[in-house]
Amino acid sequence: MPPTFSRSVTDPHACEELLTLWLTVLACKGDPTLDPGRVVAHRLNRAEYDNTVRDLFGTALRPARDFPADDFGVGFDNIAEVLSISPLHVELYDHAANALVDELFGTGLVPPVTTTFEAESGDVRADLGSVWDVTGWVLWTEGAVQSTVWITDAGDYTVGVDAFGQQAGDEVVRMAVRVDGAEVAVFDVPAVDAPAHHEVRLALPAGSHTIAAAFTNEYKQPPADRNLIVDRLQITGPLDVPRVPSPSRGRVLTCDPAEIGEPECAEQIARTFGRRAFRRPLTEPEVAAKMRHYGVVREAGGSWEEGVRALLQGLLLSPYFVYRVEPDPWTGPRALNGYELAARLSYFVWSSTPDDRLLDLAQSGALDDPGVLAAEARRLLDDPRSEALVDNLAGQWLGVRKVDEARPSAAVFPEWDSGLHASMRTEIAAFVGNVLRSNRSALELFTTDETFVDARLARHYGIPEPEGEGFAAVRIPERPGLLARAGLLSALAYPTRTSPVIRGSWILGNMLCAQPPPPPAGVLPFEDAPSEPVSMREQLAQHRENPACASCHDQMDGLGLALEGYDAIGRSRTVDDYGFPVDTTGELPNVGSFDGAAEMQRTLVSDPRLPACMVKKVFTYALGRAPTATDDPALAQLGTQFAASGYRFEDLVLDVVGSQAFRWRSGEAP
């Protein structure tokens, strides 16, 4: 039976002292009346896996790009309960571990990379000709299509051209392949219906190269006409280039076996690399187990490096590497230990593994001090690795990754090409990063006219091109705010036209956490195919006459219609997809009415749901779990702090890190 203390306190000073003491206890130890919630064993998702091996090995390999797409829950791909694992994952982990160790020791070959240019796309230049049947480029008289590629490694490459011909006369269509203007191969192109692959192998120095396919035997005796149709250009390499040992091998191979002895050095690696891989020191039995892998290989006659390979694989396939695990010694809440806190913090801010400094602070116990934890959070935010918050948190919440999904129809938007797409992706990441990472008010996301464009995007926006190469900061007063970025507008559209419903629904769900429910039974997505010319606004108005539709469409239509001044690839326009003049007026019920994207975004900023939703999104992502009703007090508290800080994003990150939900967990009976 625990001792009980009971005395009546009459002295007001004593009362105050006790209260202060109790508050101090709460600050350090947590409030026992708050449920900190529970996160299950958290499998590293693709972004976390890639960042983790980048920081462990100093590698540029991104093995997780080949992993299956991660499962999503509540809008994010880092929700522990949802992330599942299959035999395919384990095989790909094994594959990845091999590739990482190969690179470390410099065994094997430099992996070849293939770059493809579709001939009809904007990435390929042509002297003459035209698009052929949407998928190729026809050279109707002698001429060439060409593209430019940057090569980082010198070596052998294959240059490939997929092409076919319209045959006429007594010769077969002939094609010359040129690299940097010099002819490197000539092919007969007998294929007539579908492209055939032609390739030539040659040595190339590092740097910029042009590759071209040219039609060289024009023949025309109407109606007979000989033409070359190029489907795509490709370059693959470097081929058969042996790797050299990784320059950052010292990060993993922390000792020299010749100096301190082979098994001794292997054991040192198991301990130092193991501590980073497991995000905590290995226990003695664990060290012994990893050394057994080393021993098995050495006894079979393997070299020291082969033994260390097995040891490293043992670490990279361990559940302690693949999962972030927080054991439950008892049922009920407990404070996380320093290592667990270090991992939560680094995976929140960096989507990566804790660095040595965080692990050292965990080991010394310093990280248990909320002040030290806050200072470390600040340090992590100031590190370039915190760009992960833009890629992953904002990537999913604010639509940065969404831009990748834009798929405009080449037939309707011939101006679209991968270069423009890439510029849009760069812009939105820079735009979001500019607000979030300089600790300005997060509400500026919807009001700032400061953004970043290159020449291609400037032309797209119809503003003067910046001087010099690459991206420059510019102000576009007529197009402020996140929701007017061309990449987001392109992603939130059908391939051939805009959809105010898609745009409005996304804004409600991601910005206001008020995702409308799916349409009720028997309702068809009317706007996919209007049977007669009707303006978009009119179609939506008709739709809202049905009360079953109105309850949600009243909320989302206005938001989407305010963006109708931008087409399905984000260009300004005055006429909609059905030929009607654009009308961008609308309202957000109970909040306000607006005309155009800028006013609509200002209306959003005046909606108290916006900051509350920001808190909820950041909290969800930070913990990797869906908030529950027991989190309401914590969310309300964070909302108050967020308002008091002037809605500064980085302050919100720090407040979440300081919250009890972040520093504690609820146990569950084993």
């Binding site: 299956p68 949802v82 599942s84 299959s86 033994g307 999962y323 054991p327 068809l524 049977s531």
Partner: protein, 437 residues
């Protein structure tokens, strides 16, 4: 008991049990399986099919071909069209038919509507088959797909992406993701191109075996220190590592005559062809006997510019009776059926035992809905190719009534595969009698 005696006994049990098997169908299966094992493939196409341009007018053999099925002409004798089968488990008055139709495509149970952490489905027919027979080949089952999955979490109408991306389910909460990269699939089947000497390879196999043993031991120990929810997560890992361990050290398909390593950066139609060829190779080399193939994810918005259909598949599929959009869909459907016909022809041209690979294989092709406009799960477009060692007499148009559950078809296939069961999914209880002719 020593191993030799145990396996002798197991063999004897099988031999003794056979004469008591209930149907002539099963005996025939067994008789042919002596030379060639039975294989099952499940092939998924997204967004439904315009059945008016698909369903034959005539019933029985020598059925007539429509615009969408025209591509079946060279393989018609190998393919049956099944009309009238339904997956009522996917019916629900609310939106989300693509997710429901795909989630329960091979499980035939209702899926739980959620975008959160509490997904719930059943076990899919391919996995029931793999659990029974998978140990006889290197890969108990393969999941192959074309679309690698999006980078953001917006799937459809309140349903998790797990339902829209996966048709193979090892259990209610364990979807099995598709391998979509042709080079990785090739390497998984046949091993990476390697210049390693045999001694090093042997050495590494020993190291790897030591590692996998230890990983299993570590996982088991860890499970005693964590809560029930975490333990369920780690169970998935344990299962996965065990399956991989069984394969460890095997030469894989390296011994089988293998094709050329596929090229990188393929166009969509090339990607489909290459994945289908690798699938055939996997069967030919007996690396697996059960596989699923997803031509796209649920409600795929693949564009078909290359056959002159601009716009996105799912968007077009809501045609609302418009002639141009229907014509586009018929074109897309015909292209999809041509790909299937290519696969069937390839299986028919691949020798296996005394006959062709198609003789021992059964390929079931369908979509998550009837057609893209109506979103019904009642009259699913179904093609069945190959004989599966006598399970199916191909080349006929078979018509079923009263919304007969497609789960009955799956039950028949499982029984033909010698799985000891008399139900499947929520409504599979009566095997289809006329399947074998």
């Amino acid at each position: 008991m020593n191993i030799g005696r145990r396996s002798f006994l197991r063999g004897a049990t099988v031999a003794l049990a056979l004469p008591f098997l209930p149907s002539a169908l099963s005996r025939r299966t067994w008789a042919q399986a002596v030379s060639s094992p039975t294989r099952m493939l499940f092939y998924y196409v997204p967004n439904g099919i315009q059945t008016d341009w698909f369903t034959p007018d005539t019933v029985g053999p020598n059925y007539d071909l429509k615009e969408i099925t025209a591509g079946l002409d060279p393989v018609r004798q190998h393919v049956s069209v099944l009309t009238g089968l339904a997956n009522l488990q996917a019916e629900d008055p609310v939106a989300g038919d693509h997710a429901r139709g795909t989630g329960s495509f091979l499980t035939c149970v209702p899926i739980r509507r959620t975008t959160g952490s509490d997904i719930a489905n059943g076990i899919s027919v391919d996995q029931v088959a793999a659990n029974a027979k998978g140990h006889e080949s290197l890969f108990p089952s393969l999941q192959i797909g074309i679309q690698p999955g999006g980078n953001t979490g917006d799937c459809t109408a309140g349903y998790s992406c797990a339902y829209t991306r996966n048709i193979a389910w090892a259990g209610p909460t364990t979807p099995l993701p598709n391998l979509t990269d042709p080079i990785l699939l090739f390497e998984r089947l046949f091993g990476a191109e390697t210049t390693l000497d045999p001694a090093t390879r042997l050495l590494r196999a020993r190291g790897r075996s030591s590692v996998l043993d230890e990983v299993l031991a570590e996982t088991v120990t860890l499970q005693s220190r964590i809560g029930a929810g975490d333990r369920a997560k780690l169970d998935q890992y344990l299962t996965a590592v065990r399956e991989v361990e069984v394969r460890a050290g095997s030469l894989g398909g390296g011994a089988c005559a293998k094709g050329e390593m596929p090229r990188n950066e393929l166009s969509y139609p090339e990607h489909v062809s290459v994945m289908q060829e690798l699938l055939v190779l996997a069967l030919q080399c007996d690396l697996t006997r059960v596989a699923t193939f997803m031509l796209g994810e649920a409600a795929s918005n693949q564009t078909y510019d290359f056959i002159g259909v601009p716009g996105a598949h799912h968007a077009i599929s809501h045609h609302q009776g418009q002639a141009q959009l229907i014509a586009d869909l018929v074109q897309i459907g015909a292209w999809e059926v041509e790909r299937f016909a290519e696969l069937v022809a390839k299986l028919a041209d691949t020798p296996d035992g005394d006959g062709s690979l198609l003789d021992s294989t059964l390929v079931c092709w369908s979509s998550e809905i009837e057609d893209g406009n109506a979103h019904s799960h009642r009259n699913l477009p179904v093609l069945l190719a190959g004989s599966g060692n006598g399970m199916h007499l191909p080349g006929r148009h078979l018509v079923y009534e009263n919304e007969r559950p497609i789960a009955d078809l799956f039950l028949s296939l499982l029984q033909g595969f010698e799985v000891d069961t008399d139900t499947f999914g929520a409504d599979g209880a009566t095997p289809i009698a006329d399947l074998a002719g």
